[in-house]
């Protein structure tokens, strides 16, 4: 982030600063390297989109399109939020576009490949825990996964933005074009459902 360079065609070199004809300065970031972008963000994006959409196959397509769109539109990244937050916003838009386009496609819905919570729990790293602790941890993962499935897509997406993508309420509001109070209400409802269904064991 601290490194700067010369803009491609119309740039004037100025000791590490990237200047274009409009005089704007843009630091070189991970967005300029598509490999680094993919390496750093692909898995986290897939994690978010797969659980948000509830469709792992669709999520892979959405992630590919998101990274491509981000790379092509990297000039528009103003650096006001983290790259992760910016990518999450793009992924949500791509997902919405795909779902809107596929709204009447019956087969797409039939062919939906939901994430299996049983399979998900098996991916929990052992981490030196005892077999009993591991079973307990797997049970917790399954229960969180099942509760998330029961939420509306809106609630689930906002919940994941907060607790998986670690975005602030303000960032979520800005990304989704919602008031902070609305985001808070969605999060409260999602939390009530999650905490209510998981009970005291949580």
């Amino acid at each position: 982030m601290g490194i700067f360079s010369v803009e491609r065609a119309h740039a004037i070199s100025c000791i590490g600063l990237e200047l274009n004809l409009s005089g704007r300065v843009r630091p070189i970031s991970e967005l300029d390297d598509i490999d680094a972008l993919v390496r750093t963000h692909r898995a986290r994006l897939l994690q978010f989109v797969a659980y948000s959409a509830g469709d792992s196959d669709l999520a892979q397509t959405v992630v590919q399109d998101t990274l491509l769109r981000a790379f092509n539109g990297r000039e528009s990244f103003r650096g006001e939020c983290s790259v992760k937050t910016w990518l999450t916003g793009i992924a949500i838009n791509v997902l919405r576009d795909k779902q809107r386009a596929g709204k009447v496609k019956f087969w797409k819905r039939v062919n939906k490949t939901a994430v299996d919570v049983q399979e998900l729990a098996s991916f929990l790293p052992a981490g030196g825990a005892s077999p009993e602790d591991r079973l307990l941890a797997q049970e917790k993962v399954k229960r969180v996964g099942r509760v998330l499935e029961s939420l509306s897509q809106n609630q689930r997406t906002i919940f994941l933005m907060k607790f998986s993508q670690e975005m602030s309420v303000a960032e979520i509001g800005e990304t989704l074009g919602m008031q902070i109070a609305t985001v808070r209400t969605h999060l409260h409802r999602a939390l009530a459902a999650v905490r209510g269904q998981l009970g005291a064991d949580l």
């Binding site: 994690q47 998900l120 996964g145």
Partner: protein, 164 residues
Amino acid sequence: MMPEKTGHLTEEALQDVLIGLATPESEMHLAECLECRAQVDRFRSSIDLFNEASLAWSKSRLAAPPRPSFRFWPAGLVPATLVLAVLALIVVPAWKHHRPPQPVAPVDSASTQNSSEAQIAEDNQLLAAVNVVLNESEQSPVNEYHLLKGPLSDQAAGTEARNR
């Protein structure tokens, strides 16, 4: 947010803590109340476990080769096939069910038996006639191509003659 009369945070205050909108009062309460802090910690640990597992799933999914799917089917063919199959399942049994019954003639068992015996005799005669005609018109391939020579050939010729 004020703590409940029980001395613990209200559900709303606890939720605000979890989403990062805690008030200074809630923060102060959490610093002192073990029970409320335990609730926050339990929730966070469950979410951390879920995030760990889902990230590991995501990484393995990206590392795995793509799964075979039915994408080679033309886009419109699958729904069309489904619709046809459903129609076949609905329409065919319904058509069979509503088909008017065919009129059935009364059966005379004695006449049926006589007519069937006569029919069998007639069929046998017809088959015998066909056999004769075929034997006359078709030459045996053994003789036609002179496959057998010598005594066996003579024997075959004798058989042929007898058949005629």
